[in-house]
């Protein structure tokens, strides 16, 4: 840079005659000195410092060439396979050539920014000189929206129509975009502080009562959560010869397996393995476990239960039966009631199993007596 500047300065001084300005006189001396010094530079300095160059940057022409070559290759493949070259999509390639390591160049080469300035070298974006133009444009836009909402509220207040109870934006079904997702959206790197600032600004926007005006803008930066209550595998509701509805369901707990058939229009009789439940479970606690799902839904005397259970002990059999009863009940319930059951924990299978004994210990957790010396 200095050398090129010095050279141009030298040429400029050569063009016009004597310049009386002192700066140029000094420059000419210095430039000559600099020029003479530049000649005896060692070859080691001229070698490119590849490590300092950073990750390889692909130019737009290179990527365009790659895209063209990819399209030509795709058409060749289509011809070879005997398919129509015009409508040969990426899925067809994946099916035909499953071991193909590279995809479309747009996925292979990371998303980069094109040159940010035009022919006269004036940058395109008005916030170019901040360094993070997309992020700061976003902040600028968001603040603009806040001002719009404030003005709207002021106008309503002036007319006397300001009310606090307006429909708010439903935010329960979504979450804010994560930092990585925002970076992807903006094609720019942001720091954690910048991200937190952005979230803070959005929260302040949402705290205003009339934020529903800018709902569409806010939802652009929110990600929908997957439905929490995944569709439970509901047992089929069958009808027997008499027209009575019944359903069958399974349940497991520890090492016990159970199958339960719930029959509607019953009187609350429970039969387990052919025996009455009072006989099978002498202990009150186990019988309570059986009754809990029905009592929770308020359908105690409605169903007749026919159960079979095997394996495990008294308590685990009761738990397995409870799960089976809850599952069987699902086909008789609405979605809201099913959500209630899920929240109560009736539909979650208990994952606890017996932990194995480890060598070097007495039991699963109990250790041998620790001796200091």
């Amino acid at each position: 840079m200095a050398a090129s500047c010095a050279r141009t300065v030298g040429s400029f001084l050569g063009k016009c005659g004597s310049c009386s300005s002192s700066i140029s006189a000094v420059t000419s001396q210095l430039s000559r000195q600099v020029l003479s010094r530049q000649i005896c530079v060692s070859s080691a300095l001229r070698r490119k410092n590849l490590a300092a160059a950073g990750p390889e940057k692909y130019t737009m022409e290179y990527i365009k060439k790659q895209v063209e070559e990819f399209d030509i290759g795709k058409r060749h493949l289509a011809n070879m396979m005997g398919e129509d070259p015009e409508n040969f999509t990426q899925e067809d390639i994946d099916v035909r050539v499953p071991c193909c390591l590279c995809g479309h160049p747009d996925q292979v080469f990371p998303k980069q920014r094109a040159i940010q300035w035009g022919e006269d070298r004036r940058p395109f974006h008005f916030l170019f000189y901040t360094g993070k133009q997309s992020y700061y444009t976003l902040m600028h836009e968001t603040f603009g929206k806040i001002l719009v909402i404030e003005k709207y509220q002021d106008r309503l207040r002036a007319k006397g129509l300001l009310t606090k109870d307006i429909k708010q934006i439903s935010l329960s079904a979504s979450r804010w975009l994560k930092k990585e997702e925002l970076e992807e959206l903006l094609v720019e790197n942001i720091s954690i502080q910048d991200y937190n600032r952005f979230i803070q600004l959005m929260e302040s926007l949402l705290s205003m009562p009339y934020c529903t005006i800018e709902e569409e803008f806010v939802l652009r930066y929110r990600q929908n959560l997957e439905a929490q209550s995944r569709k439970q595998a509901m047992p089929v509701l069958e009808r027997d010869e008499r027209g009575v509805a019944f359903s069958t369901a399974d349940g497991r707990r520890k090492t016990s397996d159970s199958t339960v058939t719930l029959r509607d229009c019953g009187s609350g009789r429970i039969t387990i393995n052919g025996r009455d439940y009072l006989q099978y479970f002498p202990v009150l606690q186990d019988r309570e476990q059986l009754m809990f799902p029905l009592q929770f839904m308020g359908m105690l005397g409605r169903f007749d239960l026919e159960c079979t259970v095997s394996g495990g002990g008294r308590s685990s059999q009761a738990g397995a039966l409870r799960l089976a009863i809850s599952r069987g009940l699902l086909s008789f319930l609405s979605d809201g009631e099913m959500e209630n059951m899920r929240q109560a924990g009736l539909l979650t299978p208990d994952p606890r199993v017996r932990e194995r004994k480890k060598p070097g210990q007495k039991k699963a957790r109990k250790k041998f007596t620790w001796k200091k010396r």
Partner: protein
């Protein structure tokens, strides 16, 4: 020995850059500063050099377009935009308290009333006219103007002003090497701003903005609205005035926007005129 080498190197590059900046707009035949007088102050020209023989028609036309504004002192009539009454109504004369006063601002102060400093609006008018005239010339020549203000209250206003005139703004956290390390920050071959306008010279912690020092280092002329607690030394065109009141800030933004738009329109007009003049005789 090596340190002396690098020092000379930077001096050479800085001086070379200053001359290059002159080369951007002017032909090598003219000196950097051309004489003009504003408000009765005369600015001396450097000794003029013999003009080169006329070359191609195109460069002659550009020459004419670029040299025409330099003939009159107030070519863009910026003195019409600024009036003392307007400044007074926008409360530009209100400075900070006596305790916050910066020593170098004392020549710009009219006085002190009940511990509040009052800025001399006569001087403000002069300085503002100089500054606006300079902005107009830079905008006429297609220079890049960067608006800087670290006052959070007016960040949105300044950015909107910059967007409206088609210039650039930076009202956010100033990273260290934005001007001095431009090639690495933005990419190789970036063009740095030709003028930086500080609508508030202090940053959020009441220290002088880093941009003033950086602009001086990179030989970029700077205009700055200096309040009674600011340091006007490194600015090329300081404008003493209030930088905390919303009315005053809106006034400054409006003035700069109007001058820049005026200058750009004038340039387009000139290009059309000269284009017509140059093609007219050819057609005949």
């Amino acid at each position: 020995m090596r340190s002396r080498l690098t020092f000379r190197g930077t001096l050479a590059s800085m001086a070379a850059r200053a001359l290059m900046k002159g080369l951007l707009g002017l032909r090598p035949s003219r000196a950097v500063m051309v004489g003009y007088s504003v408000g009765g102050h005369h600015y001396s020209t450097a000794a003029s050099i013999k003009p080169p023989p006329p070359q191609i028609d195109d460069s002659n036309v550009t020459d004419k377009i670029l040299s025409l504004p330099l003939e009159k002192p107030d070519f863009f009539r910026v003195s019409e935009l600024v009036s003392l009454k307007e400044l007074f109504d926008a409360r530009v004369h209100l400075g900070h308290k006596k305790g916050c006063r910066h020593r170098l601002m004392e020549p710009y102060l009219y006085g002190c009333r009940l511990d509040h400093d009052i800025i001399d609006l006569d001087q403000t008018v002069e300085h503002l006219q100089l500054a606006l005239n300079f902005t107009a010339h830079i905008a006429y020549r297609g220079g890049i103007i960067l608006f800087v203000s670290r006052n959070r209250q007016f960040c949105h206003l300044v950015e909107n002003t910059a967007k409206d005139c088609g210039e650039y703004a930076h009202t956010r956290y100033w990273q260290g090497g934005l001007l001095t390390n431009g090639n690495i920050q933005y990419g190789p071959g970036v063009r740095l701003p030709d003028l930086i306008v500080f609508l508030s010279t202090l940053n959020s912690v009441f220290q002088q903005h880093v941009g003033i020092r950086d602009a001086a280092k990179m030989n970029i002329p700077s205009i700055g609205v200096v309040d009674s607690n600011c340091n006007p030394s490194l600015l090329t065109y300081p404008v003493p005035g209030n930088d905390d009141t919303p009315v005053a800030m809106e006034l400054y933004c409006r003035l700069f926007k109007m001058t820049i738009k005026r200058a750009k329109d004038k340039r387009k007009q000139m290009e059309l005129l000269q284009g017509l003049c140059s093609t007219g005789p050819d057609r005949l």
